[in-house]
Amino acid sequence: MANAAISVEHLSRRFGDFVAVDDVSFDVRQGEIFGFLGANGAGKSTTIRMLCGLLRPTSGTATVGGIDVSKDPEGVKLRIGYMSQKFSLYEALTVDQNIRFFGGIYGLEGPRYQERRRFALDMAGLVGRESTLTRDLAGGWRQRLALGCAILHQPPIVFLDEPTGGVDPVSRRQFWRLIDQLSQSGTTVLVTTHYLDEAEHCHRIAVMNAGKLAAIGTTTELKNVFADRPIVEIQAPNAVDAMRVLDSLPDIEKTSLFGTAVHAVARRRGLTPASVKAELEARGVRVTHTEQVEPSLEDVFLDVVERSAS
């Protein structure tokens, strides 16, 4: 892809016998918010570390900002910002001292430093709290300050490794607004997350499982895997019984529990909520409500992981 900010081809990384990342290929366009989904140990972080030039790929190539990560890892570092779930700030330093330190190691000076410092403070909402110790900041502010420090040098590409871990919902929302702004100003964002609702903010999503890329596309594209398999949501007083019966029905591919409701994935088009209800009641399962639902990202995620595992 000509205008790809990140281009990954057949990327693999082995640790001894263990294949952490297995022949992964994808492209990320400039200005795109690209979500990386996957369970712990699926290979997301390893992939990011290779893209940041921290870890050498065992095979395959990756170019970030036009630079081959294996050939010039230091050059990559100039063009990227990185922030992890740990919000790696120095807790014993003040807000301002943290900004100064990261400005220093990114080589910012003079008016440009002043301007970027201002930007980071504004973005984190910490104007007026410059001399607060970082350890005294609440999670949300810390997270935004960490992001500000990570993009002080205005990198065209930003990697966020589970950036919203341990942060309250309001702060998460604010954080995603910042990511949207970054994207609108042309910054490419690659973000990993556990939260499927956050993935809805992404332009495109890649699902990783056991080191492999299991699916990739927009949320709509991903949900298309259910185009021929309607999902019926069933409310039943005894959800476990309902699931056991549903699993025995030939028309039902699989079931999963969503809160108090059961999602049943049909094997064919045309299965209606009414017929599911009738089948259940014929077998003595009380049903309070059935309806056909749009697949959620969680449905997609579970489906993709299951299929790639089998």
Partner: protein, 373 residues
Amino acid sequence: MRKALAVGIKEFRQIRRDRRTLMILLFIPVFFLLLYGYALNFDIKHVRLAVEDRDYTPQSRRLVSAFVNSTYFDQVASVTTDAEVNALMDRDQIRAALIIPQGLGRDLTRGVPTAVEVLINGENSTTAATVLGYAQTIIASESAQYEMLGRARIPGGTTVVKLEPRVWYNPELRSTLFLVPGLLAYIAMITAVVSTALAVVREKERGTVEQVRMAPIGTLPFIVGKSLPYFVISFVAAIGVIVASMVLFDLPVRGSVALLLLSLGLFLSGALGMGLLISAIAESQQVAFQMALLSSFLPTIMLSGFIYPISSMPLALQVITYIVPARYFLVALRGVLLKGVGFAVIAPQLGALAIFATLVMLLAARKLKQEWA
């Protein structure tokens, strides 16, 4: 270099915020000095003395009262046999014994050279050395009086009463002055090796090093910046120890100050390098601390000649001492401080220190680079 400075400034701010660490780095050295200096140089007045006077003449009584009147000795027992002296010494009831042989008075009147025996408990070497010094002074001044009175005329100018010192339990004496350089090496090791090692490993533990690794900064500027504050602080602490020793223990600085600082700088560089090397290997602060203890701390105390003379070690250990930087530092330091020697004399030691520092720094940078790549 600017980036190294940014790291250094950050580190310095962190240390300043961390009052406890700063206190440890700056004041523990002087505290140790006081502790060790005084503990090793304590209780030098009112030494409990037993007297075995076999002579019992006016001259012998005069010598005993000279001991008692000096206030350095308290006569706590009068005994008649050596066995009693042994028993008292074993039970720690006396620290010294004065044994005057029969015939002292007679010999003194005749002007024949004679001798008295002073037994000193040498368990605590510094005290023993001091006590020995007092005994010698007292006897020498008594002896001089006899000479002046003209009662004794000895050819060759030797003193009339000659002391034959025998120190028990520890035949080899060391004074505080001899110990201070060793303490300095030991203290520098604590501050430099331990604090540097912990500082880097702490960043590993907290994950902040990950963020730094993502930035376009090489291992070398990071290492240099990281160790800069510790170098400055341990330098200041070391100079504090020297000044305190000068004031409290009359440590002389007979050689050039520049040479002293040079030796100190080289030694500290090696110690910092050691700390960085440990930090590149260790993953947790506990491990780092133990490695620092084993690799720097103990060798500095045991294998540097600080406490145990290298020449009396088994050959295998003697060989190991060659890679203990404190060994060279002690020779250089004692040379500059106590003997006032010039550069030429301690050049081999300084060379060894420089080589050690360079090697260990290179090794640390390489190890860290491996780990980062």
